[in-house]
Structures are given as C-alpha cells and as structure tokens.
C-alpha cells in the first residue's frame, strides 16, 4: 500500500489539491426560459477559469448561481469542498436551506459586477472596509490599514475619501476590485467586469485583474475580452445556449477549436 502512495507522481498530488469551486448538473429556469441546461464546472485553487460565450448563453447566470445570487433550479454547488445546502422552494426552484451557511460562503467570495455596484453613500475607503468590519468582524483600524494597501495596489489611494459618483467607471471598477479583495476571498468572481466601461478605460481594469491572475489567485471570470482570456486563463469554458459546448486550455480553445459553434463564435468576436 505504501508503495502505491509513494508512486503517485508530484504532478498528480498537485492536481488533487483543493477544489475551490465545483458545479454539477446545474439547471436554471426563469419561468419558461431554460437558461442553464445541466452545466458542470470545476476550479481548483490557483485556477483562472474564463467563461466565454455569446449573449444569452447563460454565462453570467452560471456565475451568479455559484454564490446563489440566482437560486439554481437543480444541481450541486460546492465552494471549497462545502456543499451549499439547497431546499425546494415550492415553485419548482430551490433556495438556500441555511441562510447562515450561504452568508458565510458569500462573505469569502469576492464578487465584481459589470456595473461596479459600489455603495453610493460611502466613500471609497468606507466601501472597502464595509464587509471586513461589519460582516467579518475585523477591527476598524486593521481594516482601514488593509484597505489602504489594497487601494494603493489598484492605484486609488489618493481617492480614498471620494464618493463613487465622482469617480470614472474604470476607477469605480478598480475600487470594486479592492472591495472584493478586502474580504480575503478564496475565489474571486468577475461578472463581465469591463463590459460597462469606455474602451479607453478597459485597459486599466484588465491590468489589475491580470496582476491578480499572475499571483495565483483563484478566479472565475465571465468576459467578452477574448485576447485577455487567452492571456490570463488557465482554463476556458465555452457556453452555448445553456450547455457547456467545449472546454480546455486557452491555446486549445482559441488555437484549435473543435466544435462548429465555437469556431463560429471565435470568428465572430475576433
């Protein structure tokens, strides 16, 4: 027996490292609209999974199901090995069985939205310390010190006392990334983080996200930026009409796409 264990190559040991996100047979219906038709997805620690696909393919819905912002109709979701306990809500869908569990899981998933969604009544630094102080119970001074580091990192330290409405879209999104980093997320979820930005502001946000990817942060990234996905992703998933059509390494997906639909999609967007 011991011999068998010794025989496992290092590569394999690394591969069975903790699975950060596990999604299995996920279905999501909005009324009669069947958006996700049995999608499975897995991300290990350190993975950067890019989800690509056309408009209406269900990629944002898939991301939003991971932290139950949308309740899946059926399926299994595990975050850091912990399965989100779901119950049927009586309308053919599910909802989290245990509110405390889903709140705890959400508080360690750093979500970044397409439309930034910074809290308008708080200054930038107040936005960044809000969750650490009020949800995670971090001392205010410690949270502020950490928030200043994060704001410096995204290049916004001098804007710390400015309200979001007085920042550009790119600055708001970088601030939102700092807010997500402040919860020390196990996994970061990006929901089309550059789609609402003016073209000249996209670069500054992608720069920050790319830096996070290079330092080995686990992230799931829904994006329309194909070039960026190819650069930073370790794994690319292509969704088409609610089904996982093809997945693989960035080079395989963008270099030699197998399915007809992926070939069409790549021709269209590049």
């Amino acid at each position: 027996m011991t011999a068998t264990i010794k025989a496992i190559p290092r590569q394999t040991v690394a591969n069975i490292a903790a699975e950060a996100i596990h999604v299995e047979h996920l279905h999501k219906k909005f009324g009669a609209l069947h958006v996700l038709k049995g999608v499975s997805l897995s991300a290990r620690d350190g993975d950067v999974v890019a989800i690509i696909g056309g408009s209406g393919s269900g990629k944002s819905t898939l991301l939003r199901c991971i932290n139950c912002l949308e309740n899946p109709t059926s399926g299994i979701i595990r975050v850091n090995g912990e399965e989100i306990r779901l119950k049927h809500d009586g309308n053919g869908s599910t909802e989290p069985r245990d509110r405390k569990q889903i709140e705890r899981i959400r508080s360690r998933l750093g979500m970044v939205f397409q439309s930034f969604n910074l809290w308008s009544h708080m200054t930038l630094i107040e936005n960044v310390i809000e969750v650490p102080v009020h949800v995670l119970g971090v001392k205010r001074e410690a949270a502020v010190a950490e928030a200043e580091k994060l704001l410096a990192r995204v290049g916004l330290l001098e804007k710390r006392d400015v309200y979001p409405a007085f920042l550009s879209g790119g600055q708001q999104q970088r601030g939102a990334i700092a807010r997500a980093l402040a919860v020390q997320p196990r996994v970061m979820l990006f929901d089309e983080p550059t789609s609402a930005l003016d073209p000249e502001l996209v670069g500054e946000v992608l720069g920050v996200i790319g830096g996070l990817a290079r330092e080995g942060r686990t992230m799931i990234l829904v994006t329309h930026e194909m070039k960026f996905a190819r650069e930073v992703a370790t794994h690319v998933v292509f969704l088409h009409e609610g089904r996982l059509e093809e997945q693989g390494s960035p080079d395989a997906i963008f270099g030699s796409p197998k399915s007809e639909r992926l070939q069409q999609f790549i021709r269209r967007v590049t």
């Binding site: 959400r106 998933l109 969604n117 009544h121 309200y163 409405a165």
Partner: protein
C-alpha cells in the same frame, strides 16, 4: 383705510400679544408648543408605521401586502378630519363598549395621545408610500452587492438600503413633516388646545381677529422656515454621495 390702520395701533397689538394676562400671547405660545408636540409625535409615529409598512409592502407575504394596500388606500382616500373624528369619538366608544362587555372600566382617550394616534395613523399611510418609492429608487445592484458579500437581511437594511434611500426619501418626508404640523390645526375641531383653537379663543374674547390670526400665521410660518433650514442641511448631508444635479438649460 385710516380706520383699519387705527385698529392696528401698535400699543394695542403689543398689549394683546403680551405673554401674561391680560395679554393672550402666553395662551398662543402654549398652543404653539402643543401643536409642535403633536406634530412631532404624529410624524414620528408615521415614520415608524411607514418603515414597517414600506418593508411589508416590498418584502412581505401576499396577505401582509394586501392588508397594507387596504390601509394605505383607505387612509389616503378618507379626509383627515373624518379620521380624526373617528379616532376621537368612534374608536374610544368602541373600545369602551368592548371593555365594558368584558367587565373592565372605561378609559378616557382624549388629549395629546389621541391627537398623535389620529394624525400618526394618517401620516403612516403617506410615509409608507414615500419610503416605498425611495427604497425602489435605490439601484438594485447596490443591494445585490450587499447580498453577494454575505450581509444578512437586517444588516442589508441597516447598512445599505436605509442610508442609500435617504436622498430619495428626504424631500417627501420633509413635505410630510410640514403637513403633519399643519394638520394639528384640525384638532381644534375636537377641542384640543393647539395653536388654532387658542387663537380662535383669544380672537373671540378680544374681537381682534386680524391681530391674532396674523400672529398664529406668523408662528406657523416661523416653524416651517426653521424646519426648511434644518431639512436643507439634512438633505445636503444625505446627498453627499450623489452626483451634482446637471443643469437642464
């Protein structure tokens, strides 16, 4: 014309409005303070009812929503004066009949409490709608962000929804405060000693109608002006995170 001016003879005005007897100024001030008390009480009660009402209408179950809909529709449809008379006379009568049926003694529902309850109940219906509209005006993404970071529903309400809706609620609430204060005049009908009733008594006793009603008008105006100044500061503070209003020219 000269006769009118003579009747406005300054010394007599000051004598009439003197704070101590034989002047009636003290009575007016007493009524003014009563009015403020009732107004503040009614507004506060309305705010409490409104917060519960708005929350129930937006997030409550179907039964709760229907009941609140009936409440806001009925209250806003019936004249305030009718509701005041109802709370002053009909409701205590009903309560006392019930109490007597079960062998308890009668209670006396009069004075400021009844006034606050009557006006506060009316205010509550309007406040419910003002706050509901304000909550709906909060960008949903901000509430969603709170959920996504693991906030509980109560924390979400306290930390995000309530402060974020304030800039949308303050103008409506300011209106309601002024209207609550002026509605206290209706309580004169049921014999409560607020500013209007005191004024009418003073005017009736001295026949100096013009003097006293002008004085009462000035007092109402004064409170509104002070309120406006305070509300302006509050509004400025709640709008600290809002972009400046664009010019429409």
């Amino acid at each position: 014309m000269t006769e009118l001016l003579l009747s406005l003879d300054q010394t007599s005005i000051f004598e009439l409005l003197a704070p101590t007897s034989p002047g009636w100024g003290g009575n007016l001030l007493h009524g003014f303070i009563n009015s403020i008390e009732i107004g503040v009480g009614a507004f506060a009660l309305g705010l409490l009812i409104g917060m519960g009402g708005a929350h129930g209408k937006l997030y409550g179950g179907p039964v709760q929503r229907d009941l609140l809909q009936v409440y806001t529709t009925l209250i806003r449809a019936v004249p305030e004066l009718v509701l005041i008379l109802l709370v002053y006379f009909a409701v205590p009568d009903l309560i006392n009949r019930l109490l007597e049926t079960f062998g308890y003694g009668r209670i006396d529902v009069t004075g400021p409490v009844a006034g606050i309850v009557a006006l506060g109940f009316v205010q509550g219906a309007y406040t419910t709608e003002v706050l509901r509209g304000a909550i709906l005006a909060v960008p949903q993404g901000q509430i969603e962000a709170g959920r996504a970071f693991g906030m509980s529903p109560t924390m979400l309400m306290r930390r995000i929804t309530l402060p974020a809706m304030l800039p949308f609620a303050i103008p409506g609430l300011a209106n309601l405060w002024v209207s609550a204060f002026k509605s206290t005049a209706l309580l004169a009908v049921v014999g409560f000693n607020e500013l209007t009733l005191e004024t009418r008594q003073a005017a009736g006793a001295t026949k100096a109608y013009f003097t006293f009603f002008m004085a009462a008008g000035v007092l109402y105006l004064l409170l509104t002006l002070i309120s406006n100044a305070l509300i302006g500061r509050i509004e400025h503070w709640t709008r600290r995170g809002q972009p400046p209003v664009a010019e429409s020219r």
